[in-house]
């Protein structure tokens, strides 16, 4: 990767164009009153096609993706994105279909939804899915709307609170808030699991339900899930499953059987659709039978992200039952292998078997014995970039001050993991001897650490803002 410093606006030259439209087909005098027209043309760049191609190719080369290298980003499930999926989603026959076309003219499209719905139901133990949510957080919101609609339909209006573990993804409490629910936090115990004793007194007639992810954000299976489900159901609440961590359960455990009533899946995690630098994703929501009448929440303009849904279906078809059974197991194998290989150099707060991911709490020897400030988790993350790896998730979950969360996924080979383990050991050794090397990292990325404080204090948020 090399530094490239242009913005498309800086390539602009008046009178240059990069488009090719057909000649005007019919002539018409514009009769729109000038009071309805803008005063000046928008300040868009004027560039040729080759300018555009080179510019964005150069930009792409400052980016790291799954196709570039290993991406052990915890809770993000950065598995390989198969290329057949891309080709199927981009079929011209799908691309030209208008979302409001009559059902009689989109039978093939409907089949994509119906088939994926039935497959996801089989995989998760849910009855049916809605595909309208465009992302995981959007799915959470939709699922909570379903939860509230169910209670309201029974005249049970007092259920306005939702329980969220302290280890939950930040989107959980935020989604609850957007859904008009009050958040009640349940604590984790020393083993990183939901504390059942802390949960009990929170349950009552004001509880709409609980949001959980299982395995949780520490990568640990909530083994008391049955007791939790029974307690929540007894109090009249529902269980929401945050599917962000579904990958290790692929082929092994169905959320519906654990007592969850509502769940979302991140097709861009478990079902291999690309993250696209932060979207488009897809967050279909599945429900148990009694909640099917509440599935139709109108949360997006049309039919969800159809292009993403096609990719997910292609993935399930490619894997089939044989490989789906293996996917979660291999992801779990990879995570445990890294964990056991690195616990000599990184603090492992919870040593038990993990699922798809696990959390270290910083370095065992951060180098502070040298008299210099010790190397932090941020420093380890930045140093990894120098070695050609994406960094793990850092400072999450909030239970640990130096959290370093690693999720390898099933698509990485033993050789890739071994090389990563070696580098993590090298970094630990560097930290112990001279933490300064880590403080100054990355040394080999297109840029060094930027000044984020100035960016926030004096925001420059568009090209025209530059002095």
């Amino acid at each position: 990767m090399r530094y490239y410093d242009r913005l498309i606006f800086e390539l602009s030259k008046k009178g240059r164009t990069g488009y090719s439209l057909q000649a005007p087909q019919v002539k018409a005098e514009c009769t729109i009153p000038s009071g309805l027209l803008r005063a000046e043309a928008p300040a868009l760049p004027e560039v040729s096609e080759v300018d555009v191609v080179r510019h964005y190719t150069n930009l792409s080369q400052m980016n790291f993706g799954v196709d570039t290298g290993f991406y052990p980003l915890g809770s993000c499930t950065m598995k390989y994105n198969p290329k057949i999926n891309e080709e199927m989603a981009n079929l011209a026959g799908f691309q030209g279909i208008h979302p409001l076309q009559d059902a009689s003219t989109v039978k093939g499209v409907k089949e994509v939804y119906d088939v994926l719905d039935s497959y996801l139901a089989t995989i998760t133990g849910m009855k049916h899915f809605t595909f309208k949510p465009c992302a995981g957080a959007h799915g959470e919101l939709t699922g909570l709307m379903i939860m509230r609609s169910y209670h309201m339909s029974r005249g049970d209006m007092a259920r306005t609170k939702v329980i969220v573990p302290d280890s939950a993804h930040g989107t959980n409490p935020a989604s609850a808030s957007v859904c008009g629910l009050e958040i009640v936090v349940v604590k984790s115990n020393a083993n990183g699991l939901v504390d059942v004793e802390d949960l009990k007194p929170l349950l009552g007639p004001d509880i709409a339900g609980i949001m959980m992810t299982n395995p949780n954000t520490c990568g640990l299976f909530e083994k008391d899930i049955k007791e939790i489900a029974d307690l929540v159901h007894e109090c009249g609440g529902l269980l929401y499953y945050d599917g962000a961590n579904m990958n290790p359960l692929l082929g092994a455990v169905r959320p519906g059987e654990m007592g969850f009533d509502i769940m979302h899946l991140n097709l861009h995690k478990t079902f291999s659709t690309p993250h696209g630098g932060g979207g488009p994703g897809s967050g279909p929501v599945g429900v148990c039978e009694k909640l099917v009448p509440f599935l139709g929440q109108n949360v997006s303009g049309f039919n969800g992200n159809f292009g993403v849904i096609v990719r997910a279906l292609a993935y399930v078809l490619m894997l089939g039952k044989q490989n789906l059974r293996l996917a979660g197991r291999l992801a779990t194998l990879n995570a445990n292998y890294i964990k056991e290989s690195l616990r000599d150099a990184y603090k492992l707060p919870i040593g038990s078997v993990c699922k798809h991911e696990f959390v270290f709490d910083g370095l065992i020897d951060d180098g502070s014995a040298t008299g210099k400030p010790g190397a932090t988790t941020l420093d380890v993350a930045k140093r990894l970039l120098d070695f050609g790896y994406h960094a793990p998730t850092i400072y999450f979950p909030l239970l640990f001050h130096q959290a370093l969360m690693i999720e390898p996924t099933e698509t990485e080979s033993k050789e890739t993991l071994d090389a990563f383990i070696d580098v993590m050991h090298t970094i630990a050794a560097e930290a112990a001897q001279d933490p300064e090397i880590l403080h100054a990292a990355p040394h080999c990325a297109p840029i060094t650490r930027p000044d984020e404080t100035t960016a926030a204090r004096n925001p420059i948020l568009k090209y025209q803002d530059e002095a």
Binding site: Y395, E452, T453, A455, A456, R457
Partner: protein, 125 residues
């Protein structure tokens, strides 16, 4: 090590109070600014009153956000609008940078705050 200034009163949520006749100046302690890191924005909503223990605004840093809780009840007499452009003043001189000037309506509440020695002991815990 963060400093604790003598002569001020402190709350458990790390706001300081300087009593000036019927008024109280409110700011954040050195400990609080250290915990926050570089403060990038001071959010001071358009409130008329503050109630002890309730939020009256928030501080933002690059990677964190922290709510401000009123150490006393009263009517807001003045907001330090200089902080909108210079949030770094809270980092550089936490005891010289007040956020609010409040007309105290319940002076008895002052007795519930800690003096410097008590706050120091509180921080040491």
């Amino acid at each position: 090590m963060s400093t604790v200034k003598e002569g001020l009163l402190y709350s458990e949520s790390h706001e300081w109070v300087k009593v000036d006749g019927p008024f109280a100046y409110v700011g954040i302690s050195d400990f609080a600014q250290e915990e926050m890191g570089d403060i990038t924005y001071v959010d001071l909503p358009d409130l008329e009153n503050v109630v002890k223990g309730e939020e009256f605004g928030a501080l933002e840093s690059v990677k964190a956000s922290s709510d401000l809780y009123a150490p006393v009840t009263g009517i807001i007499a003045e907001r330090n609008t200089d902080l909108e452009d210079q949030p770094e003043a809270l980092n550089e001189d936490p005891y010289g940078s007040w956020i609010l000037r409040v007309h105290i309506t319940n002076p008895a509440e002052l007795d519930e705050l800690m003096d410097a020695a008590a706050y120091e002991a509180y921080l040491a815990k």
